[in-house]
Symmetry: C2
Subunit: 367 residues, 2 copies
């Protein structure tokens, strides 16, 4: 399983989920919830409030939007792939007037374009940025974009669903008002949870917004967390809390910096392996390549389905392209528990599949 | 754990959750999703569409409302406790003009009152009914209410979150347009999933509604389920799907009618035991008592916290009252895998706790 989430779980995490149920409003769950949130804040490098939602990452995206948008509000959405475009769709559902700043799929968002758009539009309520665009394997320059957004006094919403934990995203240093993460990515627990941090500035806006969500109403989450014992407003997925507790312990045992360094290392290994075979990375420049997913152009003459089937026959599952990139690229996920070993197995499987399909591999790539 | 959800899990269900991740859009997940949905439809006794949401029961409530309500639409909410009142809150968030038909907490909704309200308001879009009001231990007469609602050509939304699977709720026979259920109740899997069935009539309304939700947009769920392989629009909680598969097999092995009969049997056992001790049921009439949760008045002179602590010391967790019933009632959940054995242990623990607190138990109750 080398897809960009869900990623494979540690044995201890799998075992942790076999624990019997406890009350979702009891002391035990309260203690576990508090502990996990404190540790998640360390991963997010934030002192902001942080909440665990029983929903996929898209739920956290909806939470960020629905808590601050009223019909007609201007939201600037930066788009460069499937997931960044999702923000635009969500903002539109909630009646926002969307200003779009886009780049070609495969390229990163140009901070300068964000500046121009913000200069032209004086009253933008929030800017959305996808830190790690999973559909194209591109990492966006959140730090640079943040400087521009914050100098305009605008809220910054960052989707770090598929990179938080596996890349350097210091929420407070970068002044991110809403930062989102997903459970089945770098945290290596099953899908079903998403995490969202909320800054003081964001709270100010939330409080004066007529919120168009009940399930994702962040004020309820805050109130419930302040109860004794701390809890969620609606029943939390307890099994995933057991898994999260275990997975966070594993991350802290390894050391957060080491976890990120490992992600950097395996990402570089994946890119180098791909280039050595004579394949081309999909992102237009290597410095914008994602730390958690590598997107690769499918060479002319190679059929996507056939190629990935041959890789699968070697026991490795990789992903294809999404939407307009279907058949154009393939993607290797390297997030969570991935090490050199899995990357090497994956590269070998790709190499063998290509060789069978008579792709002219670079000589140095042939073992 | 004898609270009204989460309820305890079978050993096989706990073990099922230790399986490694697979792709959420792959063939294996597609087959599992299809299988679980087909079986859930049998439990719901419906040929309507049915979807699995990665969200707690409240998410399914929001889905039913957000897919059909536009600002100013009239929604008739029947209220008789905390959870039925939640429908009213959700409808208001989405801009509905709420018409409330209520009964005292502890009583059931009077269908005649629903008729009067519908006669007075010609253009009600939907009526909400909580089949099993978990906060008061009351079961509402959905079949009778349905006859009235459907004769007015209005949609019927039924929250069967804490009763589906443990009570007789034939969705098609009762013409329920949206029927909701929760995973951690009678299905005996962990919290994190909710289920929602959608009738053809409901689809007609959904299609002409400007929907104010993205995460719970039922049209997306329908489209994704029609893909090859069948999938959900946003990543499903795969571990819970493993658990659901196992739990449904257990229910079908026992026989759906037998599962309901067992719930009836243990519910009666709980009520009889309570009455034998000289305690009083909270619902105003025994025929409106829930099949899955028994609410009991706390006798004068007995402190709720102290009493439940003494019960807990005997290894049994029961629930207190919620909101305005805090300190007034206690509640025994008997849903999911509960058998005579657990009821007897629970009744014994209650009896001993009361005895220690010098409550004058009925003579026949003293073993």
């Amino acid at each position: 399983m080398m897809i960009p989430g869900p990623t494979f779980l540690a044995e201890s995490t799998l075992r942790a989920m076999s624990r019997q149920m406890v009350s979702h409003r009891g002391k035990e769950t309260g203690a576990l919830l508090t502990y996990c949130i404190e540790r998640l804040k360390e991963v997010f490098r934030t002192e902001n409030d942080l909440f665990i939602l029983t929903a996929s990452g898209t739920g956290a995206m909806e939470a960020a939007i629905a808590n601050i948008v009223e019909p007609g509000d201007k939201i600037l959405c930066t788009t460069c792939g499937k997931f960044s475009e999702r923000f635009k769709k969500i903002a539109e559902v909630f009646g926002a007037q969307v200003i779009e700043v886009s780049s070609e799929w495969g390229d990163a968002i140009d901070p300068e374009k964000v500046k121009v758009a913000l200069d032209e539009n004086g009253d933008v309520k929030a800017v959305t940025v996808t830190h790690n665009e999973t559909s194209t394997g591109v990492r966006n320059p959140v730090e640079e974009i943040s400087r521009i957004v914050k100098s305009h006094g605008t809220l910054l919403i960052v989707d770090a669903i598929s990179s938080m934990g596996g890349d350097h995203i210091p929420v407070d240093d970068w002044k991110i008002d809403f930062c989102l993460a997903g459970s089945q990515k770098c945290f290596a627990i099953p899908p079903g949870f998403s995490f969202i941090s909320v800054s003081d500035e964001a709270w100010e806006v939330i409080k004066r917004t007529k919120r168009k969500t009940f399930y994702f109403d962040l004020v309820s989450y805050k109130k419930s967390l302040e109860k004794t014992p701390p809890q969620t407003p609606y029943t939390i997925a307890i099994t995933l809390l057991y898994a999260l507790d275990d997975a966070l312990n594993l991350m802290f045992d390894e050391g957060l910096e080491n976890v990120i360094a490992r992600h950097h290392h395996v990402a570089k290994l994946a890119r180098d392996g791909i280039k050595n075979m004579g394949l081309k990375l999909f992102p237009v420049r290597e410095e914008i390549c994602s730390n958690t997913v590598t997107a690769v152009k499918i060479p002319k003459g190679i059929n996507d389905q056939e190629f990935r089937q041959k890789v699968r026959e070697r026991g490795v599952v990789i992903s294809g392209g999404q939407d307009k990139l279907t058949g154009e690229i393939f993607r290797i996920g390297h997030m969570g528990r991935v090490t050199e070993r899995e990357i090497n197995i994956t590269l070998n499987a790709i190499r063998q599949a290509l060789s069978e399909l008579k792709f002219p591999l670079n000589e140095e790539a042939i073992l």
